[in-house]
Symmetry: D4
Subunit: 253 residues, 8 copies
């Protein structure tokens, strides 16, 4: 609450237009719902323009169902990420399926509520270096679409055959943001950023073995890469990259 | 060069409007200048909208001077980052100072050419968690200004006293992008992203000792942090964060 | 045994009030019980004011049962931590259930003997950043309760929505010690320590992926965090944090 | 500010006993002082019972002098940690020495303002495993003394000669908290916690080579150690351990 | 496409010997086949002299079958590496077995198409330090054979019994390249390079425990080893070592 | 073969007492048996005084059976370490059980041939810090016994209750070598070396979680520990420690 | 010494053509020169076709001078690598400069003896990603030249501007081996291997900061990279890469 | 003090042969001298058969001088390890040189008191892989000699030229213990252990760069190596290896 709004509220109290109790309520009310094992941040969309997202990997089916139930009741979009298929099935059995919650197995997303309406200044490119990176890329693509963005999917354009990435340079340049998903040594985002003028977000994946260090090597490589204009998210975090891309591409006019 | 332009060029050759030699020159000319120890990418600005930047840390004064000389001759802005004072002094002695190259000691930037004209959709916030993080924050601020952005500098608002960061929430919200510079455990960017709707770029710094692992701990922490809409750059990379912020905030209308 | 007690014993021998054999027995008797595969430290509670605790993760059901049996026989409280459900079931089958040993699945504790009587100067707050951190938080809460402490459980107050943690500041301040359980980047303990005057103990959890390094990143982050007055325990070590909190909060008057 | 105090303030406004401007000032005034490169948290002592401490390692002499000057002006105790001798000398030259700021070289502390009055429930033991650990132990001892605690210094009682640590068991037991400083493999805190009933805080030091990993090995070892009732701080962080010990030992009656 | 060929093509257009469309097609056609989830690089063999290889570990049976199908249709050799038996079985069920694709369980290779004809200047030695290293060694041996090389397999010649490796020195010297597969501490390649004049490629394996760090220790050891003339590939990467050996041993006359 | 023996052999050839072929055979015969997938070092016992040992963890039941068969045929003792129960059962089914090979499940040893006759200068102490360390300790104890040593087993004497280790000091001092097995932070070997004059070999175990880094932390701690006269083996390597202890304790008179 | 040569020697002894002493001398003479602090391997060139190389980084000037002196006396080429300028100056003062030993400051090589005569099947390409990588690249180039190879130096062709590397594809293809030197994220070797058919050796450099981990990140990245036909050497090891390239390119006809 | 001695003492008190005060003194007297900043363990030699050693690296010249002074006064041998030349010079100036303390620069040892008399069962071999490893090897050699052992020094026998190590096999076999000092990848100790029957202690050194990880790679490699009968000490710890070797080789008859 801004100083201006505080002053206005106090003046209304001074003028008798608002009771101390009403002002009290406005000043200190807690903008979340406490359901015991979680505090649901219903005001997040108001505050940040985007809906709540829930980390599903270490939650029980009961906890996920409880959270989804309340957001569905409030008619708000809610994304639960990294949900294993068997947990998703149990959770969906616990909420009324009629509420429209669905599970998407490739990106491992459980979604309640309708996608946001279109509101991007332009599409978001989601580029995957290899076929093995597809699940992470699809987590990114679906997240972006649910947040109201259009997506241009580009797949299997790794640096070992440069002609593949060169052939899609113009498609990438036509997007607002380019999300680049790559495992192994993670060289693709820097190569892409050297080709296009748009912001690039690198997503390292855990594809690879030994020296790949389960995705840490491409993550460190992307952070080290010298192509300016590029930023990075955590290993396999397609959701986070797409969310950041949507924040950047949001049409605020 | 796009397929359309290739076809148009070929049709001009077929119609005799262009000689094979002219077309040849257009098709294969190398868009860089070879000065022996470096290949200067004069077309980068054309290609990406932003000027060339040079990693200064491991270059000799002679190399830096040679590079600056050529960009200055081409009347292009050129930033050399991470230049130690004594190397900067030597390099500036080697180029004609009259060309206007200058060294800024706090951000350790050596700059040739005029700043770009104003061209942001709005200001960029550069937030520093502590006073010790100021050199990195200043590298970010000056980079953004040289790239044509206005900057709102906010300092010493670490999470150990939350009232400090809460007091500047609206200043941050008013910016296009928020760059958050933090050492130690690097918690500030996630806290900021929870407060504002704008894109946040976290810059871990090497401030701290022992478990801080020379900046790797805040870097890993920022990548792990669960506030969606935030991305990360390398340790102490104020330049890279500001560059990415400028790409995002660029007014393309 | 203190020098004063040694001198007193020797004087009793010199006066003939104690035989050398009796003194010998007092001086060198071993304050533990050897049951072959373990030496049970029955005197620990006398020496440190707190009962024995047993690391259950790498023990067989037979070993756990043997240890529980002997402590139950001695009517002493004994906690076995990190016991998997199937091992607990086997172990409980091996001891006489009538002895009152029970298994609590969420905190994975196997408990023999009655909880200690209330003896804290005030409650211990156990704060969990997210719903996924609940098993570790519950290990802490139940440990504290068994050690004679009262507990105030506070859940899902992570830093991405600061209003949640701000809303419980006074509850935390009213406690003797605040145990803060957090995974991902582990920023919450430092934020809490900035808000309250009480000792804070941070418990990193293994919730997170990639850069979270299975809990090492929040552990390193908490150790690095600059909020003075805060200490740290091992990843997922809710037991150890609660035990330390109980030692601190113990009413010794 | 608590809800009760907010309600009371609002009622005073409603009754005309306070003007909106006065209430406004109370509600939104920022509890820190902005001196450009830092925001001084003068209210920290009020909020947490302990004074501000400043990380000195990466600050310039000018920054340290500016901060010390303002705290001295406010007649508040201020500790600047990890200040190198040459920086301390420059900083002290920049502030009026008459203000009483002094530099202590062994613990590398720069101190402004008078120590807090005695206020501990009992002494704090500061135990150093070896002579090489003395600088870190002295940082802990002096910090505790400045915060109003009495200190019992015990030195060179490493585990390679157990009779040394056994000979001081009763001295340690007589203290409120035991801070144990140890480099190399860092085994001492666990041994101490097995001997005494008081809370133990382990401080790993960077003494050692090769496998010691500059202090990370004793830090990891202390976190892993199985003696319950022990917590850990960062490598070489004698200040943090003593600060936490003082928070624990504080006489709040 | 080289400048000479570009010029020649343009002159043919100028002379009317080629239409703009034909030239366009030659200049910009994409040398890969897009099958939706993958872009098949049929021209790789033309470009590099060796066929395409596909990383099988993180692909579904459907994806592997799709890729194999297309290469088989084009009558090109295609190696899919690191395929688990159950995935291989599913994939082979999905393609027409009549196409001749086969799975080799020890090296975990799925192969479509005929081996290349003999074309090495001499044999490749594949040396395994221990029996446990055989699966990786066999991945190397079969890869080399499929690429047209002859292989001399030498097994169980680790450094703990030097007479074993000394007894095969002349067999190794008679080869064009020596691939040395070793787990544990990975000392064998350096010992071999000290004995022979041929190029040596070290392949660290994940055999070992604890300090072996799942193969990182032998990998780091081989990179550090001082025997010049030796290079290294990733942990367990028998395929990559053999491929590189084949490139070196290729008879280009 | 020593120079003296070479000279003697050559003189016998010169004198016609040996044919070149016989000498050839002596000089270059390979002291191992090649069974295809392994080269059995039957001369190891002659060369080093101790029998062959085989790493069982990554071998198939067929490979283990093949190796055991040949050593049993040669009536030599052979130890196969780290064999999982199901693999051991398969392997034993493949060799004639009548040959006397047996599997010991706790130490996971598969043994063929009779134990060596007693030949130590004195017993070897095998000390386990906790009950969870017993499998590794038993691997050490059984290895030592099979190599002809007597063993004094001491269990559950961790540093958290020092009186337990102090009570067995004289038993340890009476041994030739003391093997100390400890997980968690691994402090016990250094404490033991401070108490006794005999050589101490530390065996870190993988007991512990989080900061224990699967045994790397106690391993690093033991290497760092300042008690001179102590050496270290790999994580969980009870076999290697006992083998080294037997080499040290061997009665060579 | 091969079995054939041993048999021939023995037959000469049997025929009285060689005395036992002569044969003895041939069989057991040590193929190195012992100069107290070093054993010089004068036979290395005979054995491996390449001269000895000496690690200079941790040697004193006296040691380097002693080694150089003996190789110069034997008229053999000797390379001392990683020699700091001040050490080189001292060492050269200690040997007679007339012997022709010289120091090359950029590659930090101290060289005694004449370069080997030309003997490569073709040139070696030494490609440097950036100007900062030049010292390592020059160490590679000079090593190759001294070993009798011709070198094609290509500089500043990093992946951020792909047109630079594409422009030299044919120059690289015309070489026997391509050594690619790259710091930062180290993406260049994989990109190069995707473009050419020749063997590629990647040399990671320590250029970069933070996440670059002093060269470990590009080293890990190159090992992980999926372009088959590429191998890797240690960080900054231009010498080792060039030596391996020379072994590969050696004309043995 | 053993139970037998306690009982005897008590019986003497019962018989009036000893006063309680005398017995008290014997029972609880502290077997060390407290000199303020250190507790000198004069009884160590009695307890363990070997004199005290002091870690010199992080001590001031004043502390070292104080410690040396007291041991010299007690006519006991005292070794201070890892003393830098300038600190040694200052320390020696502070003690009376007449006491005979000397500094040995290559092994960086400061020694007070006379070497122990000869008392080994046989010599100790100290083997250095390369000339660069000499300082660590010399620390081992001098330590062993001061502890009463004879030493056989063997230098520059690294695995890249196996004939060098093979030529000294019998010299090594003739020793009681073999200490093997090796940097780079640290392969030598395992090779040596495969050649000789004596106990081998590996000492990794910090010689090497990049992947050598400042000695961690050879340390990990030695711990992983499969040659049984070998143990390991910390990086560069020649002192510790020699001390352990002397404990093993001690003639106790």
């Amino acid at each position: 609450m801004s100083p201006d709004r505080v002053r206005a509220l106090l003046e209304r109290v001074a003028r008798g237009e608002a009771s101390p109790d009403q002002a009290m309520s406005d000043l200190v009310k807690l903008p979340f719902e406490d359901i015991g094992f979680a505090r649901l941040d219903h005001h997040r969309r108001l505050r940040t323009g985007f809906p709540e997202a829930v980390w599903g990997e270490n939650k029980t089916a009961e906890q996920i169902a409880g959270i989804v139930e309340r957001y569905a009741a409030a008619e708000e979009l809610c994304l639960v990420t990294r949900v294993r298929p068997e947990v998703a099935e149990q959770a969906l059995d616990l909420v009324a399926r009629g509420r429209g919650a669905v599970y998407e197995p490739t990106p491992r997303l459980l979604v309640a509520g309708a996608p946001l309406p279109p509101r991007g200044r332009g599409p978001i490119a989601v580029v995957a270096a290899g076929t093995s990176d597809l699940p992470v890329a699809e987590e990114a693509s679906r997240t972006a679409e649910l947040l109201g963005m259009t997506v241009d999917r580009i797949t299997d354009v790794g640096v070992a055959g440069l002609h593949r990435i060169l052939s899609v340079r113009e498609r990438m340049e036509a997007c607002e943001v380019v999300v680049v998903v790559a495992g192994m040594e993670g060289a693709l985002p820097a190569v892409v950023k050297g080709l296009v003028s748009r912001p690039v977000i690198g997503v390292p994946t855990s594809i690879g073995t030994g020296a790949a260090l389960a995705g840490l090597t491409p993550m460190l490589g992307m952070l080290t890469a010298c192509a300016p204009g590029m930023t990075v998210v955590n290993v396999d975090n397609g959701f986070g990259a797409a969310y950041a891309a949507a924040v950047i591409a949001l049409d605020r006019s």
